[in-house]
Amino acid sequence: MEIVGYIFDNLGLIGERTLEHVAIVVVAVGLAILTGVPIGIAITQNQRAADIVLYVAAIIITVPSIALFGVMIPVLSVIGQGIGYLPAVIAVLLYSQLPIIRNTYTAISNVDPALREAAKGIGMTAAQRLRQVEIPLAVPVIMAGVRTAVVMNIGVAAIAAYIGAGGLGTFISRGISQTDPRQLITGALAVSVLAVAADFALLWLQRRLTPRGVSIPR
């Protein structure tokens, strides 16, 4: 009951922290889409490049976020941004690469070779094939990668509270340092709700973006 009271008393603050949290994830994943999708498409042209890129992305994702923040503090301090928003965005950006690149790569390379051949055979340029055939068909899988990235990084962004990036993680870090279960639980709850809500929102978007002819069951 105490917790419910705490939440109601602090709705404004929760909203503010949620916005901070969303700002980190949306900007970082947005940038990750802008980089990851082209990289994912580009590496379909070269098996060796694909192996290397996917390997590097997989290694990045195994680095614990705390360690990543630790590494960035001295580096970014050079421009006076050792802690705060920027390193949080960079971390999320890096962690998002693997799901987005891998899903894009898989989706594009799994386009039915017969379709590729038909598209080529009727005289589409490589760009036309991508835009008219390959990307529309890959959209559901690419979007699934984006969803994975967002949900995973809502968690990562919570930890970024420790380097002063704000967001819902602040409740958790303060809850721990002040041994205040109300803040701790509020933070954990809000992060979970945000992750689930984001997943549903993106699922809806994924369905909207999937061409109708592709989603028809058969």
Binding site: E117, A118, A119, P211, R212
Partner: protein, 372 residues
Amino acid sequence: MIRLDELTKIFDTPSGQVVASDRVDMEVPEGEICVLLGPSGCGKTTTMKMVNRLIEPTSGKIFIGDTDVTKQNPIELRRTIGYVIQQIGLFPNKTIEDNICAVPDLLGWDRKKSRARAAELLEMVALDPGTFLKRYPKELSGGQQQRVGVIRALAADPPVMLMDEPFGAIDPINREVIQDEFLRMQGDFKKTIMFVSHDIDEAVKMANRIAIFDAGKLIQYDAPDDLLAHPKNSFIADFVGGDRTLKRLRLITVGDAMMSDPPTVRAEDTLADAAAKMEEHGHISIVMVGPKGRARGIVYLSDARGAKGRVGENHKKLPASINAREDLRTAVSMMFTHDETSLAVVDDDGFYKGYVTQRGITHLLGATYRDA
């Protein structure tokens, strides 16, 4: 016209070089269907794909009309060549209409014009435009998709078409229907077509000329009847099959094989006259025709000889007659069914035109061998 000049393709593979096309020389005349035929891996697809440059030749030349296609921009070239593949390859994210209009759209045609053409083409393959234009490929049956695949290739009215086992994925009954449909369209469109098949019966049916390949080499290139009648070597003879003479029956129409200006009798003639006519021609029966010349009945020599009366009261029902446009395979089948050695031939209006006999057919098929 498509002309291949010493066309060669050598693939470098980890296990060595593969000569997929070996100095192929051939010409597909304007408006004809040339079927490339041969065992799996003999180089049919490779040879065909060099024409639209999906595969670059190792050496040799390809001409369409007077243009050397190896000097042309491949993207522009492909937009002028209709292309149909066995896997169909309709774009699942596009409606049937947009699939059919894919090439016109690439060429920047006026939308109204291309959409009208899509509807027109759908009608030609007996698919209702109202129902199908806005559907997606997944909402069509395999046979319907295959038809759309063919008309997509026709949409921009290319003079030349390449078809790689276009009807290979369809069940035999539907395949016959689509083949007939396609031949009817070809009758109007007169495209110059290279058509890959591995089915000798399909080749005999579709082709003006058949090119048989073995291990990358063009072994024989001839009209279907010549190929069946005169296989160049034992490979070809084996490939076309032991029943190759029976296959030829399909290629000859009853009209071409029949004896025309046949003797006839009328209802008012006497049996004695009928018997005399049969004896004069050495026939064992004679057809009775109506006032305008329609086949009405038959009189047998055994019944007429020495009998009195008129043909009108003494004729029998005609056991079977056949339209002059049917092929000899149908005629022979009918003879066996009715246990007859000859059949009356009629035209579309039922007028008696002549007759075909088993002896005549045997003789006709045999003649090409004797002339050889």
